[in-house]
Amino acid sequence: MLEIKNLHVTVGGKAILKGLDFSIEAGQVHAIMGPNGSGKSTLGNVIAGREGYEVTQGEVLYKGKNLLELAPEVRACEGIFMAFQYPVEIPGVNNTYFLRAALNAQRKYRGEPELDSMEFLKLVREKLKILHINDDLLHRAVNEGFSGGEKKRNEIFQMAVLEPVLAILDETDSGLDIDALRLVAEGVNRLRSDDRAMIVITHYQRLLDHIVPDKVHVLADGKIVARGGAELALKLEEQGYTWLEQGGIQSLGAELRA
């Protein structure tokens, strides 16, 4: 579904990604772990299409097409969703109104009829029930005055409504307490499906106790340096990223080295 080959990205002239290779298929959940500054969020932003990231080399193919030439809204309409690390507050724009406008923009793109407010409300109620989210979030402005936990839950709620093909969760666990983390993880797990791929970007193994990935990729200094199953995350948690940087990678079996 998504295939990234030898991706090099600079931000403000500084090289951040330095030859990253990555691929994921429908139905899978992959985790990308790595220390601060390794390029995890850059990867998410490049896939979502944020400005200011210059791709100097390599390619990103999504459903076999060149993703990089698509505008962010076209990527969204094609089924890409990023749950932001820092969801933006948009004062004055009602959360429900915004989400309906977004969903209808996507439906229109796909040639499906737009939902009127009654139909949309029905859909929203279903999703809220699945995610155990309180509906007071609906009546407020997008993320305005939301707590850290509410913002992350709102991201997952948006994901549930928009039903993406490829979801990227960018450090969705950061800033969450244990209870909020569990709630968010449960939400994500409910959205796992055979035709959906998810990339979970995280610092910590903690989130992966709740969202068990099919595959773990370790990103360091702009490259994937190791790949493995869920157990790789445990190994990292135990040893720390410093261990990785100090040559620990060599101690991994050859099958894990990327």
């Binding site: 979502a48 299409g49 944020r50 400005e51 505008a71 962010p72 809204e73 990527r75 969204a76 309409c77 969703f81 990023m82 932001f84 969801p87 933006v88 507050e89 948009i90 004062p91 004055g92 724009v93 915004f98 989400l99 406008a101 977004a102 969903l103 923009a105 996507q106 793109y109 402005a141 997008v142 948006q158 928009l162």
Partner: protein
């Protein structure tokens, strides 16, 4: 002096003098002399520093006279060729249903009262200026003579006074709730570019209430100018809810000067929406003549192309324990230009006054310009004063966030601008009306092309 002022001066000299009480005839002449001597406002006039006269000069309007055309105001409900059912007025901007059917509707076409209709409410009197002068001469005289007509900065009030013979008088007896009045304005441009002058008196007795809604519905490209002077008198505890919306074409000039005298405990609630016009300027000045009075000035302007809108608000806290608020939001695209000049003067002894001012502006294009100038002068104690002015651009992070959910860039920008303006419309009591205004704001928004 400008060629236009000279032309107006000649026109005033050769015009047949209007008939009226002697004091008024003399005042007209004095005003005419003032205008001829000083000409149009200039850049050196501090309050006109940012107001270019070039739109008006380009339009080069002749003074429109309507001598003797309103000896008597039409009977209620009566229509003329250009009256209530005339085609000169298009569909109302605010359909009657939104206003819970207004109790009264008044139409002014090319500076002339052309019709009125409404329910009979005891204690509510609606008259033409001529009739008003017969009935309330001393009261009207007091207001008319209070208008400053000296110097180039007062050129438009001088012009209005020099030509004074068309106007509307609304008088409400004490303790009467006058309901909702709709005042519809239209300019035709039929007789070539003209400047029409009109005078309005809103005389609200003690404990009265009125909701006044003004809307402008000129034919497109009327190429005319309207110059209105408004006198508002609020008796103690009177409440005037005053909403005004204009989305005129780009070659329309609207000048207005409103003076509000507020007695103890009265409330003046103004909301002005400027979504069009070529050169638009409002001066609103309120004076608190008694304690416990309050004034709110809400405003939003959404401009594109080369439009120019000025708002000059001035609040004189001449009495203690009064509060005022100025709350403006401006959105400027294209090469448009906006001015917000908010003054509040708290005089010695006006203790326990409260003043709030907020002016926030979005510039959508590199060529758009806003001059925002909050001025606070405080000479009293225990005063609560807050003011803030901001000028910014649309939040790029928010735009990306919205796009990442599937909304196009233009749509994302529209949502942000709409949300920005909703800070003003959300404060209107009638939310159905607010919804309609939001719709009009949406239509007035600059097209979000690459340039924007």
């Amino acid at each position: 002096m400008s060629a236009l002022a000279q032309q107006w001066g000649e026109s005033l000299r050769s015009a047949t003098p209007a008939q009226g009480p002697r004091w008024l005839d003399e005042l007209r002449l004095r005003a005419s002399d003032q205008l001829t001597a000083h000409g149009l406002p200039q850049r050196k006039d501090e309050d006109w520093k940012y107001t270019p006269m070039r739109v008006l000069e380009k339009l080069n309007p002749a003074i429109a006279y309507h001598p003797g055309s309103e000896n008597h105001f039409l009977e209620k409900g009566q229509t003329t060729e250009r009256g209530l059912n005339g085609k000169w007025f298009s569909d109302p901007i605010f359909p009657a249903a939104l206003l819970d059917k207004p109790d009264y509707e008044i139409r002014v076409y090319d500076g002339v009262l052309v019709g009125h209709e409404g329910s009979d409410r005891p204690g509510v009197t609606v008259l033409s200026l001529t009739e008003g002068l017969q009935r309330y001469e001393s009261l009207l005289r007091k207001h008319i003579e209070s208008v400053d007509i000296s110097g180039s900065a007062q050129a438009f009030t001088a012009l209005n006074t020099a030509t004074l013979n068309q106007g509307l008088v609304i008088h409400i007896d004490q303790q009467v709730d006058a309901g909702t009045m709709l005042l519809r304005w239209a300019l035709s441009g039929k007789a070539g570019p003209s400047i029409h002058n009109f005078r309005v008196f809103l005389l609200l007795g003690e404990g009265t209430r009125l909701q006044l809604i003004e809307q402008f519905e000129s034919a497109d490209h009327s190429g005319s100018a309207l110059n209105v002077v408004v006198h508002v008198e609020l008796g103690s505890n009177a409440v005037l809810d005053h909403l005004r919306l204009q989305n005129e074409s780009e070659n329309t000039v609207l000048m207005s000067s409103t003076r509000i005298d507020q007695a103890q405990g009265s409330r003046y609630l103004y909301a002005g929406f400027d979504l069009g016009g070529g050169l638009v300027r409002h001066e609103l000045k309120t004076v608190f003549g008694g304690s416990g009075a309050h004034a709110t000035f809400l405003g939003a302007f959404v401009l594109d192309n080369a439009r120019h809108v000025d708002n000059h608000i001035s609040v004189d806290h001449a009495s203690p324990g009064c509060s005022s608020e100025q709350f403006f939001r401006g959105v400027l695209g294209g090469r448009s230009r906006g001015v917000f000049n908010g003054k509040a003067l708290i005089r010695p002894g006006a203790d326990e006054s409260s003043v709030r001012q907020s002016s926030a502006n979005l510039l959508l294009s590199p060529l758009a310009q806003i001059d925002t100038k909050p001025e606070l002068e405080i000479y009293a104690d225990e005063v609560e004063a807050r003011h803030g002015a901001t000028v910014g651009q649309l939040d790029e992070a928010a735009i990306f966030y919205m796009r990442s959910r599937g909304l196009g860039e233009a749509e994302a920008k529209r949502l942000l601008v709409a949300a920005f303006c909703r800070a003003v419309t959300d404060r209107l009591e009638n939310q159905a009306l607010a919804g309609r205004i939001s719709q009009l704001i949406d239509q007035a928004m600059p097209s979000f092309t690459q340039e924007n």
